[in-house]
Structure formats: structure tokens, C-alpha cells
């Protein structure tokens, strides 16, 4: 298989050339531990602080508000468990949404088992959380609101600034899981009233295994990883210097190219969505049409199942993902697709394609032509389609 069209950039991205080059010396020649005092370690220490500065600038934050972690899941876990532990005397109520990533949802489930109460807000048919619903569910014992910046499956961008305003007005801490958004769309933590923000390097051409948590000055939360005095004694563990250098370089590059990439991806995204909806019958777009990540396409094809589609796309050199049960390892399709009100059998037929700035219109034409063949073939084998056609003939 020569051709490879990678349309799973929400799962992970390729490592950027700049990031790779900047990381190389810290993987080999300069292997020092930046916490050491000798001169040999100073270069690594400076590289770590430079990367921190780049990230802080990208968010409109102060350098000391950026804390490096092992990735998005750790950041989400730290934000939720850390606030829950630190503020338990104030209250034990947390507000989140039904469409969060499992790193947030399963952490909330864990906290519920520890005696916390969690409100899981509904979303509308496009996956939008209502700031009014957030406000209505705030109680005197609410200690944290955690709403994702943009959804990883359907690409919907949440009204973060409005939710931040609500949280700030009620003096409740506001965390946002920005793993899919950071590096792709503008974020300003001051303007958006964000107290805590999670992000991950490999979602924007940085390396895997590195992420950060933005913690606004003055926010109290317990540590998740105890040990050495790294990260202002809040997150122990020897600095992952190559990873930190890599994420710094990737942020620099992502911020520089953000607008151009977003425009390019949005144009190809919209072209592909329009073509699919026009040319494939019984297809529906999931997620908001405009409040949407520039690189996200998520479409349900009725009467067919997602995993079959993925295998057939793979045979044509196309990498994509699905929210079907078979791909999640459970009997239920994606919780996000169910939360936006899709019936199970339609949710099983979802296809997510997440572009990169390298995806071309020609790539998408090939992909859409392939989808058309695959959908037709799978429908010809589908008893659901047979029944549908029969009931239409009667």
C-alpha cells in the first residue's frame, strides 16, 4: 500500500520538523537533568524555561502559570482531583458536560465514588453546552466547572468565554480541557476567565507524552504526583526535557501558522462536508456547522456500521476513526453521539475524519469517492437498508 491519507489528526499528529530538530540535542548530547547545579545542566534548564515562556505567551498567561505534565489525561486528572481535594471543605459539587473526554468523565466517576457529586450537563443537538444551564446548576457547594474547549469527536467549539463569565461571576473555578483546541484556535485565558486549562503536545505536531496544565495564579489545588521540587513543587518528576523542548517548538510553529492553517483546513473541511452531504444519501453531519474545529468532519451514514467502513477505508490507504461500539471496545456507541440525541443504530455508522494542514482537496476527492463506493457496498449487504427500501416501496 503506497498511498496513505492520514485523517486521524484528532487522535495524534506527526511530529513537526522544527520540533524534531530542536529535540535532538536533548535526546543525545545534552542529557542533563535541568534541576542540577552544574553548568552542563544550565542549557537544558534554559530550554525548559524558554518553552514555558512560549506556551504562556500563546495563552496570554504568565510563565509561572504553566506546569508541564505527562499529557492531556494527566492534566485533566490533576485539575479535577487537585481542586476536589483542595476545596473539599468548601464543597463537593462539580459541574461538567456529558460529552467530555473520558479523561474528565472517568475522573468525575472516580470522584463520585469518593463522595463528590457531579452534574453532567446535557448538550443540544449540535453538542453545545448552554452557559445558562451551567449557571442554573451552580450551588453553594459547587467547587469546579469543567467544560471542554472543543469536542474531540464532533469538533463543536463550546461557548467558553460565556461559561467563563458565569463561573467568574459566581466565584467558582473554571477548568477547560483544551486538548483539541490549543494550537488550533485562539485561546486567551484572561479574556475567557479560565482558571485551569489542559493541553497535550502531540495534538499539534509536538511529541507524545508531554502536556501542560495552566494554573492561574492563586488557584489552590493539591498535587497529583508527589516527589521532588520540580514545577514549583507542584508536579514532581525529572523534567522531560526533549518533550518540553518539542512542545515549545510545536507551539511556536502552531501559533505562527494558526490563522493560515485554520483558513486552509476550514475551506477543505467545508468542501468535503458539502460534497458528502450532496452525493451520499442518508448521511448527516454531526456537530455544529460553524462553531466547529477547522479540521473536524464527523458524519453518520445510516444503515451501515463504522468499523466495517474503517477497514474498507484502510484497504484504500485512508486512516480515519469511528464512534461505533466495535471501535470503542464496548457494546455502546460513542457517548458523545448518544448525548447529541442520535439513536444507537445511527451512532454506530459514524465516521470521523480530522484533517491536517497538509490535507489537500485532491486527497479529499479520493477519500469521498472511496466513501461513496464503500457506503454503497455496505448498504447492499445491510439488512437495515433492505428493510428501509422495502418499507419505502410499500
Amino acid at each position: 500500500m503506497d498511498k496513505l491519507i492520514y485523517l486521524d489528526n484528532a487522535a495524534t499528529t506527526s511530529l513537526g520538523q522544527e520540533a524534531l530538530e530542536e529535540m535532538m540535542p536533548y535526546l543525545k548530547e545534552n542529557y542533563s537533568n535541568p534541576s542540577s547545579v552544574y553548568g552542563f545542566a544550565q542549557k537544558g534548564k534554559k530550554a525548559v524555561e524558554d518553552a514555558r515562556g512560549v506556551i504562556a505567551a500563546a495563552l496570554g498567561a504568565k510563565d509561572r502559570e504553566i506546569y508541564f505534565t505527562g499529557g492531556g489525561s494527566e492534566s485533566d486528572n490533576w485539575a479535577l482531583k487537585g481542586v476536589a481535594a483542595a476545596l473539599q471543605d468548601k464543597g463537593k459539587h462539580i459541574i461538567t458536560s456529558k460529552i467530555e473526554h473520558h479523561a474528565v468523565l472517568h475522573t468525575c466517576g472516580y470522584l463520585e465514588r469518593q463522595g463528590y457529586e457531579v452534574t453532567y450537563l446535557d448538550v443540544d443537538e449540535n453538542g453545545l453546552v448552554s452557559p445558562e444551564a451551567v449557571e442554573a446548576s451552580i450551588r453553594p457547594d459547587t467547587i469546579l466547572i469543567s467544560i471542554m474547549f472543543a469536542n474531540n469527536e464532533i469538533g463543536t467549539i463550546e461557548p467558553i468565554e460565556k461559561i467563563g463569565e458565569v463561573a467568574s461571576r459566581h466565584k467558582v473555578l473554571f477548568h477547560t480541557d483544551a486538548v483539541q483546541a490549543f494550537g488550533h484556535i485562539p485561546i486567551d485565558v484572561e479574556k475567557m476567565h479560565i482558571d485551569l486549562l489542559s493541553a497535550s503536545g502531540h495534538k499539534f505536531h509536538g511529541p507524545k507524552g508531554i502536556g501542560f496544565l495552566y494554573i492561574k495564579d492563586g488557584v489552590k489545588l493539591d498535587s497529583l504526583i508527589h516527589g521532588g521540587a520540580q514545577e514549583r513543587s507542584r508536579r514532581a518528576g525529572t523534567h522531560n526535557v526533549p518533550g518540553i523542548v518539542g512542545i515549545g517548538a510545536a507551539v511556536q510553529s502552531a501559533i505562527q501558522k494558526m490563522q493560515a492553517n485554520a483558513e486552509k483546513e476550514t475551506a477543505i473541511r467545508d468542501y468535503a462536508i458539502d460534497r458528502i452531504l450532496k452525493e451520499v444519501p442518508y448521511a448527516r453531519l454531526n456537530g455544529d456547522r460553524t462553531e466547529r474545529l477547522p479540521n473536524n468532519i464527523n458524519i453518520c451514514f445510516r444503515f451501515i456500521e463504522g468499523e466495517s467502513m474503517l477497514i474498507m477505508l484502510d484497504q484504500k490507504g485512508i486512516c480515519a476513526s469511528s464512534g461505533s461500539a466495535c471501535t470503542s471496545g464496548s457494546l455502546d456507541p460513542s457517548h458523545v453521539l448518544l448525548a447529541i440525541g442520535l439513536p444507537h443504530e445511527i451512532a454506530h455508522g459514524s465516521l470521523r475524519m480530522t484533517l491536517s494542514e497538509e490535507t489537500t482537496k485532491e486527497d479529499m476527492d479520493y477519500v469521498i469517492d472511496s466513501i461513496k463506493q464503500i457506503v454503497e457496498r455496505l448498504r447492499s449487504m445491510s439488512p437495515l437498508y433492505e428493510d428501509f427500501v422495502r418499507s419505502n416501496q410499500q
Partner: protein
């Protein structure tokens, strides 16, 4: 994650389609958990031999492959022999399935049984050892 046999039966499924005026039709599974199989049987009145067998499946790669293999295994057998085709036999014929996909082979066995049950009911005969179908689209 799938064996070559599974991939072969998924990519080139045998006996896909419908049989008009089939002797027996069985549909099992439900759309909720993402697998529906429908098996059509054409059975010789005299010899009770399965002359033709077709399937339609909504489901993952393993669901398609197990349906395809099940139709191959029952083709040419009598209805009594077909009853002996177990999910284990389907799995073995496919060189195994990942653990999370074993239920697909069970569904294939149930689909054959459901089609045989339909045949038995229509023809007012009793097939020793055949239980009424468990799962149905209606279970949703």
C-alpha cells in the same frame, strides 16, 4: 487484529444477498449493540438439504466474516446437520476471532438457528434440539 481468513471473508464475503420466497429466514441481533444478521435458507422439501443460503449483515468486520463463513458451512448440509454448526466451528474455520468479537460468532450460530426455526414453523415440523430464536431486532 483480524486473521487473514476473517479479512478474506470480510473483503470478499460469500453468499451475500437475499433469496426470494426463501424456505426460512432468520434475523438476529439488534441495532442497539451494532450487529444485525439475516440468513435466508432455500431447503429441499424432500431431502431437507440446504440448497442455497444467503445473508445480509449490519455490523463490524467480524460480524460480516462470521455470517459469510456460517453460510459456507451450512450450504449442502441437511437441516439436522446444519444445527450442529456451532459458533466454535465458525470461529475455527476463520482461524479465530479477537476475544471482543466472539459474540459475532454466537450471533452467526443464532442466525442459522433462527432461519431453521422459521422453516420449521412454516412447515409445521419439529427439529429435535432446536430452540426458538433468542435475540431479535424487536428486543431493542
Amino acid at each position: 487484529m483480524y486473521s487473514e481468513k476473517v479479512m478474506d471473508h470480510f473483503t470478499n464475503p460469500r453468499n451475500v444477498g437475499e433469496i426470494e420466497d426463501a424456505s426460512g429466514v432468520g434475523t438476529v441481533g439488534n441495532a442497539k449493540c451494532g450487529d444485525i444478521m439475516r440468513i435466508y435458507l432455500d431447503i429441499d422439501e424432500e431431502t431437507k438439504v440446504i440448497k442455497d443460503c444467503k445473508f445480509k449483515t449490519f455490523g463490524c468486520g467480524a460480524a460480516v466474516a462470521t455470517s459469510s463463513m456460517a453460510t459456507e458451512l451450512v450450504m449442502g448440509k441437511t437441516i439436522y446437520e446444519a444445527l450442529e454448526v456451532t459458533n466454535k466451528a465458525v470461529m475455527e474455520a476463520l482461524d479465530g476471532l479477537p476475544p471482543v468479537k466472539v459474540h459475532c460468532s454466537l450471533l452467526a450460530e443464532e442466525a442459522i438457528h433462527a432461519a431453521l426455526w422459521d422453516y420449521a414453523e412454516k412447515h409445521n415440523i419439529k427439529i429435535e434440539g432446536l430452540e426458538p430464536p433468542k435475540a431479535d431486532i424487536g428486543d431493542e
